[in-house]
C-alpha cells in the first residue's frame, strides 16, 4: 500500500526537491524505511547512529504525532498521509537558565492530575517540576529508579551521565535496562525507557566519564545533581563540584543490604566531606561488584533520592539536609543521624582550602601507581595466560582460591583449593610444603594480592593471578559462569 509522505523544506534537497513522495508500507516504520531506501541521503538526517529517529524529527499520521500512537508500529489505512515535521531549536550562548515559567497543556493536566489535587504540589508546583532540571550521575542501580520516577513525575529536563554498556549482571537491579538492551549503551536504553514513560521530558545524555575537567561544565544550569555513583573518587568529585557551584546534591549509596541517603551542598548545609573528610583506604570497602548488593536496595535508595530532588525543586517539604538516613534491608530498619556543616571542612567550611576540583583518583589512592603500592610493595604476579600454559605443561603448582564459599560454588578454576581470605592466617598449615609454587587468585585480583602479602609475612612465597577468575573466564575458559 503506497502512502503520501510530506517532506519538510530542509529535507527536500535529498528528495530531488519534491514536496511529497510516495512510499510503500503497512506501518509508519515500513513507509519510512522504504522512503530512506529510495532516498538514501535522507537516512542520516532522519535517524541517529543508533537507528532511532532524531530528537528533532517528528512524524505525524494525518494530524497525530506518532509518539502518541504506536510510534513506528502505527498501522496505516488507505489514504493516510504521513508528515515529517522538524522542531527548530537554538538559543543564546551559555547554559539554560534556572528560573522558568511553564504552562501546562490539557494533556499534561490530565497526566499529572494526582499531583495537581495535592495542595502541596498543585498547578504551581507541577509547573516548577516542569521547569526543573535534574542531572543523574550514572544510569545504574540508583540512577535507574530515580530517573524513571522523575520522568514520570514530569521533570522538564533529565540529564544522564554514563559511559557504560548494559551488562547481563546489571539487570538484577538496573531497571532502566532490559534483557534486549544487553550490549547497548546505557544511555540509549535509558533514553528509550524514559521517553516511553513520558515523551514530554527532555532527556539530555552525556556519554562520558565524569572528570574534574568536565564536571563543572556539565553541572552548570541544573537545579539538582543526583549522585548515583559507585566509587569514592567520583563521589568526592560530585560533592566538590556541587559545593563549588552551589547546586544541591541528592546523595545515595548502597552496599550489600545497607543504604544511605542525604542532601548535601545546600547553602549553609553540610556536604559529603563534613560526613567523611577522608576516603577509606583503597580496597577496604568493596564495591558492589565485589561485595554484592540486594537488587531491590537501590530501588529504595534511588527513589528516596528522587523524592528529595522533587522536594528541592518544589522548594517545599522537609528534605534530608542535615540528616543522614540509614536503611538496613536485611533487618528492615531505618535510622537517622544528625549532620552539621563542619566549619573546618576543606571545601564548604569557613576557610576553605579547596577552591577548585582536584585529582580525585589520586585523592582516593586509586591512581594506578598508588593502587599497586596499596596492594603491598613488590607483590609478584602472574597472568592467566601463564597459568594456562602451566596447566597445559602439567607443571606442578598449587592454586589457592581465597574467595568466599558462595563464590566458589558459582564457578571455580579446576584443581584449585579454597581457603577464604579471612581464614588464611589460621589455615597456613594446609598449604603445601616448600618447593611447590603457589598461585593465588580471587575474583578480580585485589583480595588475592592481600593474601600474597599475608603469605609473604609468614615466609611463604606466592604469586598473585592478575585479574582473578574474571580474567581467566574472559581470556581462557569462557564456559565458566561469570558473576
Amino acid at each position: 500500500m503506497a502512502h503520501r509522505v510530506l517532506i519538510p523544506t530542509p529535507l527536500r534537497p535529498y528528495t530531488s526537491q519534491q514536496e511529497t513522495v510516495d512510499a510503500e508500507g503497512g506501518t509508519v516504520g515500513e513507509v519510512l524505511s522504504s522512503l530512506t531506501t529510495q532516498y538514501t541521503d535522507l537516512k542520516r538526517h532522519l535517524y541517529a547512529e543508533d537507528g532511532k529517529l532524531r530528537h528533532f524529527v517528528n512524524v505525524y499520521v494525518n494530524d497525530d504525532d506518532i509518539r502518541y500512537l504506536e510510534r513506528d508500529a502505527t498501522k496505516l489505512k488507505p489514504g493516510d498521509v504521513i508528515s515529517i515535521v522538524p522542531s527548530v531549536a537554538g538559543g543564546a550562548p551559555g547554559p539554560a537558565a534556572v528560573e522558568r515559567s511553564t504552562e501546562l497543556s490539557n494533556a499534561e493536566i490530565q497526566r499529572y492530575s494526582r499531583h495537581l489535587i495535592l495542595p502541596e504540589v498543585g498547578m504551581d508546583g507541577q509547573r516548577r517540576i516542569k521547569g526543573g532540571r535534574v542531572l543523574c550521575i550514572g544510569a545504574g542501580g540508583l540512577g535507574s529508579p530515580a530517573a524513571l520516577y522523575l520522568a514520570a513525575a514530569g521533570i522538564g529536563t533529565l540529564g544522564v551521565v554514563d559511559f557504560d554498556n548494559v551488562d547481563e549482571s546489571n539487570l538484577q537491579r538496573q531497571i532502566l535496562h532490559g534483557t534486549p538492551d544487553v550490549g547497548r549503551s546505557k544511555l540509549q536504553s535509558a533514553r528509550d525507557r524514559l521517553t516511553a514513560i513520558n515523551p514530554e521530558v527532555q532527556v539530555e545524555t552525556y556519554e562520558t566519564r565524569l572528570t574534574s575537567a568536565n564536571a563543572l561544565e556539565l553541572f552548570k544550569g541544573y537545579d539538582v545533581i543526583l549522585d548515583g555513583t559507585d566509587n569514592f573518587a567520583t563521589r568526592y568529585l560530585v560533592n566538590d563540584a556541587c559545593v563549588l557551584l552551589k547546586i544541591p546534591n541528592a546523595y545515595g549509596s548502597i552496599f550489600r543490604f545497607e543504604g544511605q541517603a542525604s542532601v548535601f551542598a545546600t547553602v549553609g548545609g553540610p556536604c559529603y566531606r563534613c560526613l567523611y573528610p577522608e576516603p577509606p583506604p583503597p580496597g577496604l570497602v568493596p564495591s558492589c561488584a565485589e561485595g554484592g548488593v540486594l537488587g531491590v536496595l537501590p530501588g529504595v535508595i534511588g527513589t528516596i533520592q528522587a523524592t528529595e530532588a522533587l522536594k528541592l525543586i518544589l522548594g517545599a517539604g522537609s528534605t534530608l539536609v542535615g540528616r543522614l538516613l540509614l536503611y538496613d534491608a536485611w533487618t528492615m530498619k531505618f535510622r537517622e543521624l544528625k549532620l552539621r556543616r563542619d566549619p573546618a571542612c576543606p571545601i564548604c567550611g569557613d576557610h576553605p582550602s579547596i577552591k577548585g576540583l582536584i585529582d580525585y583518583e589520586e585523592f582516593c589512592g586509586v591512581s594506578p601507581a598508588r593502587a599497586t603500592a596499596a596492594a603491598g610493595p613488590g607483590v609478584p604476579e602472574t597472568t592467566v595466560e601463564e597459568l594456562k600454559a602451566r596447566v597445559d605443561r602439567r607443571a606442578p603448582f598449587f592454586l589457592l582460591d581465597v574467595r568466599e564459599t558462595h563464590e566458589f560454588q558459582i564457578s571455580r578454576i579446576a584443581g584449585s583449593t579454597l581457603i577464604p581470605l579471612g581464614q588464611l592466617p589460621s589455615r597456613l598449615g594446609e598449604l603445601p610444603a616448600s618447593g611447590q609454587e603457589i598461585i593465588v587468585h580471587c575474583k578480580s585480583g585485589i583480595r588475592s594480592a592481600k593474601a600474597v602479602a599475608i603469605l609473604k609475612e609468614n615466609g611463604i612465597e606466592a604469586k598473585n593471578l592478575k585479574g582473578g577468575i574474571l580474567a581467566w573466564i574472559d581470556r581462557v575458559d569462557s564456559t565458566l559462569a561469570k558473576y
Partner: protein, 154 residues
C-alpha cells in the same frame, strides 16, 4: 505550491544575499524587544525569492526562555500552513539573543537543520540591535555568515 524559489539555496547560500522586506525586519525587532529578557522566535516566509513576512511563534522551550528557544512540531506546521496560504515557502527562522551578540551559539549549531537559514537579532537591555543571517555548512562544522539586505538598511 512550487515555483517560488527558496531565498537561500543550500550550497551557494553563504555567497548569495538574503533579501528581506522592512516590515519583516520591523516585526523581528518588535518581537525581540517584547519578549526581552526572554528569547523570541518565529518563521520567515519567502515569496518570489524575498522574505516578506516574519511570522511570530511561541517559544515552547522547557530549558529556560532566557537562553533557549524551541519551535515544536505544532508551531512548525502552523508556519508551514501559513506560508502555503500566502503562496510562499518556509526556509528561514529567526530568534533573539538577549544581551548577547547576534552570532550563533554552540547550542544553535548543535540543533541546526541543513538547508534552513537562521536569522539572529541581538537585543540588549530591551533594545533591538544587530540582525545577522547564517547558513549551516554541509558538514555541520559551523555556520557561514550571509548577507542580509533590506530596503532601508543592511
Amino acid at each position: 505550491m512550487s515555483g517560488d524559489s527558496v531565498p537561500a539555496p543550500p550550497r551557494s547560500a553563504a555567497s548569495s544575499p538574503t533579501y528581506i522586506d522592512d516590515v519583516a525586519i520591523e516585526t523581528i525587532r518588535l518581537h525581540g524587544a517584547e519578549t526581552f529578557p526572554d528569547e523570541c522566535c518565529g518563521a520567515l516566509i519567502a515569496v518570489g525569492g524575498r522574505i516578506v513576512e516574519a511570522f511570530r511563534l511561541d517559544n515552547t522551550t522547557n530549558g529556560g526562555a532566557a537562553r533557549r528557544f524551541r519551535i515544536g512540531p505544532d508551531g512548525y506546521r502552523q508556519a508551514e500552513a501559513h506560508a502555503r496560504a500566502r503562496g510562499g515557502t518556509l526556509a528561514c527562522f529567526y530568534h533573539s539573543h538577549p544581551n548577547e551578540a547576534a552570532r550563533p551559539s554552540a547550542y544553535d549549531l548543535e540543533h541546526a537543520w541543513p538547508n534552513f537559514t537562521y536569522v539572529i537579532i541581538s537585543v540588549r537591555a530591551g533594545t533591538p540591535g544587530d540582525i545577522t543571517v547564517w547558513h549551516l555548512r554541509d558538514d555541520r562544522s559551523g555556520f557561514d555568515e550571509g548577507e542580509l539586505i533590506w530596503p532601508t538598511g543592511s
